[in-house]
Amino acid sequence: MLKDILEERRNSISQGGAGLDCEKASLAGAVSQRACVYCGARVVLNPITDAFHLVHGPIGCASYTWDIRGSLSAGSELFRQSFSTDLRERDIVFGGVDKLRAGLKEIAEIYKPPVIFIYATCVVGVIGDDVEAVAREIEKAYGLRVIVVQAPGFAGHKSLGYRLAGEALMKLLTPHKTDQKERAINILGDYNLAGEMWIIKNYFREIGLPVLASFTGDSSCADLIKAPRASLNVVQCAGSMTYLAQKMEEEFGIPWIKASFFGLEDTAKALRETLDILGTEAEIERAKALIARESEKAKAFIEPYLPALKGKKAAIFVGGGFKAISLIRQFISLGLTTVLVGAQTGQKEEYEVMAKIASPGTVILDDANPSELEAFMREKGADILVGGVKERPLAYKLGVAFCDHNHERQSPLAGFVGVTNFTKEINLTINSPVWSYVQAAATF
């Protein structure tokens, strides 16, 4: 047990019990793994491939988010560039509006994108730039959509950013509101990392159920505005997309379900539940066949790996709670025990589910810091950590295997094929001979 956990953090950690404090701001002075509002908004909107993402503020926020997420595109690569007004001292004193206006004009003339998202970062509100007014002016002059995302980092953490992204998307969609519905779905909360959206879409293509829009993996503006015609929203990353799903239900009358395409069980369940609502007989049959065929293929693939994985202990630290739950399930099916699970921004119900499905004594953490992760991984003797970029070197320093289930994932981890990739990756890292050097003393 970590000897010096901050008193204020005690309620954010639980061991085999419920009643976790979460959805709180991080403590001042803590070494948190969390990001900010701008980050949340940006990661959600960024994969819109033909949108222009302009960061209004000093250069840092644009630099750090330049092409950092492996969202793939079948079309435009515009979203992979970094655009910023690069505010300098002079702009802070005299206001950044002139530069913003000049920038927007240049964008409209060079790139003629269908939509421009302006992200107003920390200082923009403080210096009093009227970003909305400039946005309206440019919209009028050039006949394109300009959507402002007021995303000062101090306004909250990443979750608020997700919500702001949802609001921005609603602004994009609302003019295309319609009562004419099609028997088709939208997929929400998949960002096409390593091509995962393509995998999910291919399943629906085979089944025969049309997908109108994907939020936001490999999406174009033209696709997204079809979304109000759909009859169901299938929400994969609930953490980032619940707000948008709720709004679309309220405004466009589209019901939604939570779905996870991580793991065999959850993928099959997600397909089944979608079709239970919307599928025809024939589609349901095709889905059954697909699930049977792909599950069998995946199980046959996993089989030989199981002895090498059995009994290993896993620690999970990811962004959202829903993904953490899928990962616990996946580890169970691979014969691993989850000994620690945490999220940056999980919700109360999610932590309750984790407590229920994980083995007794599993440590559950909200907004953990490196010391806590280290202490509990050590105490529990974890063999592998699943996390994101900041957790990787921590795991390696402890001599513990690592799998990136975040922006830097190596191969697609969604769908049935994702299970085989995940198994491969887990095996590669956990059974790599490199760990033997950690334990062994030098032989000289």
Binding site: G29, I59, G60, S63, S84, R88, E89, C122, G153, S371
Partner: protein, 453 residues
């Protein structure tokens, strides 16, 4: 993915496209990680420090720890004094560093937080220290932020009354591998030296199976105190070390030499010459031989270097050093660019270029990758030398690339190797020859593919 970069040069006044710099705080954070048992602290929103830690982790492949004042709406209206107070208490209570090194952000600067008075009002435990520097993100770049933090350490901690026989060194914004090379040079020259900051061991620590939030290594508090009484300070990197050089001169009266990074033969020679003049020591045979081996390699590979056109990009001090190396190799620099603003870079590079009989080069500060790409589209080059994001241009235009500088996000091992000294120059020369020869092998007709090159 850079298909969208048009060939026709576009005049821009409102947008930076694909930045060749980032903001001051990350440089300050990096500098603070080179001080023993020091917690870098970002006084601003929570996201800043998350980004900085991510970037440093991606470059060094090591944990980069830092805390944040985690500003809320309230703090951004009423000021961040309370957040800093709570932060400092929590940090000393839980993480127990010896020093907290606070840097500001665009937010805390814009709302007018006065760190000097905040720190005076803090309740700091005995023997512990809190220092700060001002690093608004809308001034300079990560390189100047680095300099500000080093200056901050000196301002708060260097003691005029100390006496030391050492030479003090501000190494500039370089990698742990460069620091090790510097130490080797001083050791071989028999000159005692103290280096501030020293990220060797803190950001390239060995695998031990245990994680330490504050690893061994880093410049100690006692050493920083002693900086106030060193014989002389060598401040390396005209931009990164300018501010700390000014501060140590004015606060402690220490004489300083502001020198370019010792990259390339001439710069390394000049650096050693300076050490000789200061100490009366001579250059040992070992270093003479090292220099000789470097020149031997340049001779062996000379036909591959001469007249090859190269674009060099990255941070000002590093680019100036790489420019010297490129010219010594016989390359023809076409473009020499940095994203960091400042005319001094341009004049420094022009001066270096004037010493060589080469075609005119475009030298620019405050540029970005988009502009560099446009230039290359109009007048191609044979080789790129610079940081990771350059690979997009390398791929789009099918140009070989040698990685050097900060950040290198997409390869391993770079932070371990020096670019300074004869050894760093030798390594770069090897990488450049390798890249050009690999390209030749790839493109040549089968009958020309020869193991004898």
């Amino acid at each position: 993915m850079l298909d969208q970069t048009p060939k026709e040069i576009i005049a821009r006044s409102g947008i930076c496209i694909n930045p060749l710099k980032t903001c001051q705080p990350v440089g300050a954070l990096y500098a603070a990680l080179g001080v023993h048992r020091c917690m870098p602290h970002s006084h601003g929103s929570q996201g800043c420090v998350s980004y900085h830690r991510t970037l440093l982790t991606r470059h060094f492949k090591e944990p980069a720890v830092a805390s944040s004042s985690s500003f809320t709406e309230g703090a951004s209206v009423f000021g961040g004094g309370a957040n800093l107070k709570q932060s400092v208490k929590n940090i000393f209570d839980v993480y127990d560093p010896d020093i907290i090194a606070v840097h500001t952000t665009c937010l805390s600067e814009t709302i007018g937080d006065d760190l000097n008075s905040f720190i005076l009002e803090l309740d700091i435990p005995d023997g512990k220290r809190v220092v700060h520097c001002n690093t608004p993100s809308y001034v300079g770049s990560h390189v100047t932020g680095y300099g500000q933090m080093v200056a901050g350490f000196i301002k708060y901690l260097a003691a005029k009354e100390e006496k030391s026989d050492s030479i003090g060194v501000f190494p500039g914004f370089v990698n742990p591998g460069d620091i090790r090379e510097l130490k080797k040079l001083f050791k071989l020259m028999g000159v005692p030296a103290m280096i501030l900051p020293d990220p060797s061991d803190t950001l390239d620590g060995p695998m031990t199976g245990s994680y330490q939030m504050f690893p061994e290594g880093g410049t100690s508090l006692a050493e920083i105190r002693a900086f106030g009484g060193v014989k002389r300070v060598l401040a390396l990197g005209l931009l990164a070390s300018k501010e700390p050089a000014l501060v140590i001169k004015s606060r402690c009266g220490v004489e300083t030499d502001l020198l370019p990074q010792p990259m390339g033969i001439a710069n390394t020679d000049a650096f050693l010459k300076r050490l000789m003049d200061l100490t009366g020591h001579t250059v040992p045979k070992e270093l003479e031989y090292e220099r000789g081996r470097l020149i031997d390699l340049l001779l062996d590979a000379n036909q591959y270097y001469y007249q090859k056109k190269v674009a060099i990009f990255g941070d000002p001090d590093t680019v100036a050093g790489l420019l010297s190396i490129a010219l010594e190799l016989g390359l023809f620099p076409s473009y020499v660019v940095t994203g960091t603003p400042g005319d001094a870079f341009v004049s420094q590079c022009q001066e270096i270029l004037q010493e060589y009989d080469v075609p005119p080069a475009k030298v620019k500060a405050g540029s970005d990758f988009f502009e560099l790409h446009q230039w290359i589209k109009n007048e191609p080059v044979d080789l790129l030398i610079g940081t990771s994001y350059g690979k997009q241009i390398a791929k789009a235009e099918d140009i070989p690339m040698v990685r050097a500088g900060f950040p290198i996000l997409d390869r391993y091992g770079h932070a371990h190797h020096p670019l300074i000294g004869y050894e760093g120059t030798r390594r770069l020369a090897e990488l450049v020859a390798g890249a050009l020869m690999d390209r030749y092998d790839r493109d040549c007709p089968d009958e020309d593919l020869d193991v004898v090159m």
